[in-house]
Symmetry: C2
Subunit: 307 residues, 2 copies
């Protein structure tokens, strides 16, 4: 049985591309490894894989009796079911240290950078393994996606350098143009069911004992969402009820204006004011300059819930 | 205020030398960083620092308002007090993934190798920073100590290669001879209070909700401990009572015979038979081939306590 590499639930482009890259690297280092994905590919991820002719990873949901590497997360709530019934071999990530633990020593590469594929570029270099042209292409796209074309607060010099080096391997031209092309795909909402939009990039967190869900939709212009905003607000209320959550927050991020409108349903909406100093009106708040769930939204909520 | 690097409680030579090495590396990368140590240096660590003329790290016990890197552990029970009241910047380790979590992304380098200093050698190389001769010397000793002169089940090819490369930088000769010299210092017990022997390399674990302490004494010949074995057994009983532990185990490891005698006090000594298939007699059990707490003892107990 091969070893699986999987990213988080509600997979984004980094989770998909990092799984493909780590499976390639590990296989070349002698461990038969295949990429997996938890759930449906987003339109953006499909576009990226199509563009570079890379196969979609196999769907995986349960870790029972499997050996697995995790990429792009280390939180149990975002990981495979029954992770404790499989064997975790390692983690490559760029998020906070989550609650995954292991009985044995394993390999962990986690760096405070904007994208898992930036860490993977360094791992390829470290092991002296050449990156295939098409994998370098999808890794470049993952970095453009996760760093919002280098604009996100999470973006570091290491991300820019990795993206430039990978683009060279892949023979790519203007990265801003490529990024905008991807974000137009990501912004497309016509004909997409509302729940799919809410869950497109959605993560569950345990904050001081409270179940909190935070989704994010990134668009090139917030007005693109005007026609569905009412339905999105209704749907996160329904999702909160179904999951018995304390809160569900949905970030509608305008990557050109560089800020997010947050849609809020919560048992105690005062956490939003505690976290961001902004009082919600009608279940909404504009958060100027807030583009990163990981670096700006989650840490502020963690503190607000703990206080 | 400088940033601190600290290893685990009851510091062994790897915890001390890894803290010194990471502080050197981070400082050279531009972040003012100083090594710290939780508790007294062991005779072995003192011998190693003296041999290479390296200053002992500053004593640190509490993380409140401090920025810290952790080396050689990622378990809260082995870490600084009030870790949640300081800021964790990163972890370099070679143990299982523990229960330390962070609100923000940080740097983690954890590899399944025999010694933290093996990971640090790779980090120096990765960042292109030259290792000072005296620090290469203490890092070599840390690897010899943690891998029991390359004999431990935890020892990997990466450890051997790192030790050889470091020994070259430090201008060292025969590593087996250096290792034996260190283990003779470590084996010395004359005039040492019993509690100090028990705590010389002692760690606390939470195993399925049970408080478990596991100590280890490595000697070149088990008969060296004959005169104190009775007192050791009495003292771990006293320690168990003081700490309200479920169990305290003390491994007396014979590095030449390559096995350990385990002294046992436990609310349920059947965990020993569950873990190792050996029935204790008079609170003792000989575990043939068992030399590594981390790779052989802790995982087996974790399983036994969980079953």
């Amino acid at each position: 049985m091969p070893v699986y590499v999987v990213g988080h639930k509600s997979p984004d482009t980094d989770s998909v591309c990092a799984a493909i890259a780590l499976a390639d690297l590990k296989s070349k280092l002698g461990l038969e490894t295949v990429p997996g994905v938890q759930g449906e590919l987003s339109p953006e991820s499909k576009f990226v894989l199509d563009k570079f002719g890379v196969d979609a990873p196999e769907a995986v949901a349960d870790a029972t009796d499997k050996q697995v590497f995790l990429v792009d997360h280390s939180d149990l709530s975002q990981s495979l079911d029954n992770l404790d019934k499989g064997e975790l071999l390692g983690i490559v990530d760029h998020h906070k240290i989550g609650d995954v633990t292991t009985p044995n020593p394993v390999e962990v590469w986690t760096w405070p950078v904007g994208c898992t594929c930036t860490v993977l570029k360094a791992m390829y270099d470290f092991y002296g393994v050449e990156i295939p042209k098409n994998i370098a292409g999808i890794m470049t796209c993952a970095i453009l996606s996760d760093t919002v074309i280098f604009k996100s607060a999470t973006c570091t010099d290491a991300d820019k350098q990795a993206a430039e080096a990978l683009a060279k391997v892949a023979g790519l031209g203007d990265l801003t143009e490529l990024g905008m092309e991807m974000f137009k795909v990501k912004s497309a909402i016509e004909g997409t069911p509302v729940r799919e939009l809410v869950k497109r990039d959605y993560k569950n967190f345990d904050m001081n004992g409270n179940k909190v869900g935070i989704g994010q939709l990134e668009v090139v212009d917030l007005s693109l969402l005007d026609s569905v905003k009412g339905d999105l607000a209704k749907d996160i209320q329904a999702l909160k009820d179904e999951d018995s959550n304390h809160s569900v927050f949905l970030l509608l991020t305008d990557i050109m204006k560089e800020g997010s409108e947050m849609l809020i349903v919560s048992d105690d909406a005062s956490v939003v004011e505690k976290a961001f100093g902004v009082k919600p009106v009608d279940g909404k708040a504009w958060l100027d300059g807030v583009m990163s769930r990981k670096k700006q939204v989650v840490p502020n909520f963690e503190k607000a819930f703990a206080s």
